[in-house]
Symmetry: none
Subunit: 214 residues, 4 copies
Amino acid sequence: MTGIERRKQGRAEAVNNLKRGLILDAARRVFERDGLDGASLRSIALEAGYTPAALYFHFDSKEAIYAELLKSSLASLATWVNDAVARARRPAARLRAAALAFFEFYLQSPRDLDLGFYLFRGGMRPKGLGQPRDQELNALLAAALSPIAAEAEALGATRKEANLLVVDTFAHAAGLLLLAHTGRIRMFGASASALIERYIDERIERLERPGEAP
Amino acid sequence: MTGIERRKQGRAEAVNNLKRGLILDAARRVFERDGLDGASLRSIALEAGYTPAALYFHFDSKEAIYAELLKSSLASLATWVNDAVARARRPAARLRAAALAFFEFYLQSPRDLDLGFYLFRGGMRPKGLGQPRDQELNALLAAALSPIAAEAEALGATRKEANLLVVDTFAHAAGLLLLAHTGRIRMFGASASALIERYIDERIERLERPGEAP
Amino acid sequence: MTGIERRKQGRAEAVNNLKRGLILDAARRVFERDGLDGASLRSIALEAGYTPAALYFHFDSKEAIYAELLKSSLASLATWVNDAVARARRPAARLRAAALAFFEFYLQSPRDLDLGFYLFRGGMRPKGLGQPRDQELNALLAAALSPIAAEAEALGATRKEANLLVVDTFAHAAGLLLLAHTGRIRMFGASASALIERYIDERIERLERPGEAP
Amino acid sequence: MTGIERRKQGRAEAVNNLKRGLILDAARRVFERDGLDGASLRSIALEAGYTPAALYFHFDSKEAIYAELLKSSLASLATWVNDAVARARRPAARLRAAALAFFEFYLQSPRDLDLGFYLFRGGMRPKGLGQPRDQELNALLAAALSPIAAEAEALGATRKEANLLVVDTFAHAAGLLLLAHTGRIRMFGASASALIERYIDERIERLERPGEAP
DNA sequence: TATGAATGAGTATTCATTCAT
DNA sequence: TATGAATGAATACTCATTCAT
């Protein structure tokens, strides 16, 4: 390949990625506007200024678009969590930061939560997004949560305890987010943020208290 | 209205309720068989031995059927929780029983969980099931969870603390159920039942430990 | 059922059959105009003055419409052949009449020939019109051809010889029709009608000539 | 044009023809694999290692590819028939060989028969493959069948009788092939090969019997 | 109370073809 | 010569809902 060709191809690839990105942006907007069920291939295409058929040059199927959206959502999540962790020093603070970052990411971005639930819903029904894709997304989620486990181990937890802490934290956060995003937490006069903080602090305290079972 | 007319009306209403019940049974079966997405009005009608149009004499819309299903699901939940509570004596045991019953109800009945999530999902998007219906369903959920609050107060918690306990328990259970029903809890080698028990026991222990903030 | 109800139902059924008939007529027109490939469900519906969705109340699928068309085409064929046979007296004349009627039916109605080929084409590919339907249609075709076999037996042929005569006649007629309807017979300066007549007459002559193998 | 230019052009043309051939090979494979309806331009292109658009540099349209395929199919047929004729000596045997070769070519190659029917089907509908192409293909078919006529004349038939024999033979063979390839000949417990042989032998016998009308 | 017929909007996906690069 | 992107029209079929009967 000559230099010119290389540059040409590079440019073409860049354009390509740009277009893919624009389509994904459109999908995000439609998704934001009409919810997951309203986000048909057709509406995504129109929002992006394309014919439905045109999307098939950039994505294999509607599900592929969803998967890509989820992937980038989970990537953002991971970045967000890692950034928060990086700003803290001591393990306890880092663990706390990771858990809170996870929670806050979804608290301020309901659509990402919807997407995440979509991933999970897929698992409820047999089809989902296809097994390989599913595993990839699971791995991304696990990666975003991994700092929690890592810092728990740094605080002296066993690998197993650390894993359980991840599960518990995820569960508690997910449940609170559900309540928060549907306005039902107000029914009880509670604040999701306050509750998740309290939950995490208790868990950390117990981790740090020596000579006690977790 | 004459006596005869009244009796006529009473009979008609009874028949009416019976038919509604049969339709709801059919809906439950379809829903169990095909999941939420596969449960079209058409398939519910056919399962019930009706034409789609006939259902509109008994329910205003497809959503109304869903709402009714949810209502009866929440009623079952309340019964289930109350029965569990009734089998225990001391407040701590009763609280424990209530929380575990809530969890177990949904653990063994994924379709009811789907319905519950559907209710909540409705809240995420603007439409939902209509505000009055929403409030009714919220009240039913709150009622099913009320024993938790009641027993917490019996253990000395303030009204506010009791409410927060309800929220926390609900959130933790919901999160774990999500993980359990999608098989993702296996990813972490954890058991949802064990985790919810541990969570509840800790909360109760803290409630009972005097002189400590919850 | 009361008399009134019976009459009501009878009327409803009549209307129903009428509408089915109108749709089939529309299908025939579209088919005539655009050929088999152009006869989409959509175009049939529009031609009939319906929305595509409406056709599904009268037919299960597009293929069901095709099958019905074929069925009625084969029924017409059978009637046509039987009528021709009935007008002749002696077996030889009846056989001749049957074979020529078969040929002429398709000679003057190219679209019915197309439909018939569609039935056959179905057999080439795995799918076809569904096996039960396929067998029903095969039976209709066989029935339309049955007078040929019957009269051959009346002329002294064995069952087996009679069957082979049917096959030969069908094949020769089908081949000539193909040539005729595509105008290719003119290439050879031949007349399909004359050729089929000659073919049949020879076969009959041989059947009648005693002491000779068929 | 200079010599160099001429050689350049010659080379370019050779490459061009080679590529056309490769595309046609791919088309044959796709066609064999997926049948006429499954053979989209897209799948042909992919099978050939091209993008769909690229095929338009080598063929005017999808129909043009089909036509080319047909052309080469008919050329194969002609070769096959001529080879068979060449192996026989006496006119009667040569005629017989030609007719049987025609039949056998299509008996063992259903896809070629499909293509042939496609050609003819085109004639049923107004469009077809375009008149000039149609005539070319007709001529190829006529050429493949010409030995039949030639040998018939060698046996003493007039030009006209010979032509009619070609038509009859073609028709009978085509009809039997239709029955054979759709499995319907089994319905009648008959064998296409046996029937075509018997038919040909009778015709030859009649040709040889002197003093009798054909 | 129930039906059967009908609508209109919608679904994802495929197709042959065109055109700027 | 070949590509990648795009089009526009088409495909069969499903959906919740309405309405005359």
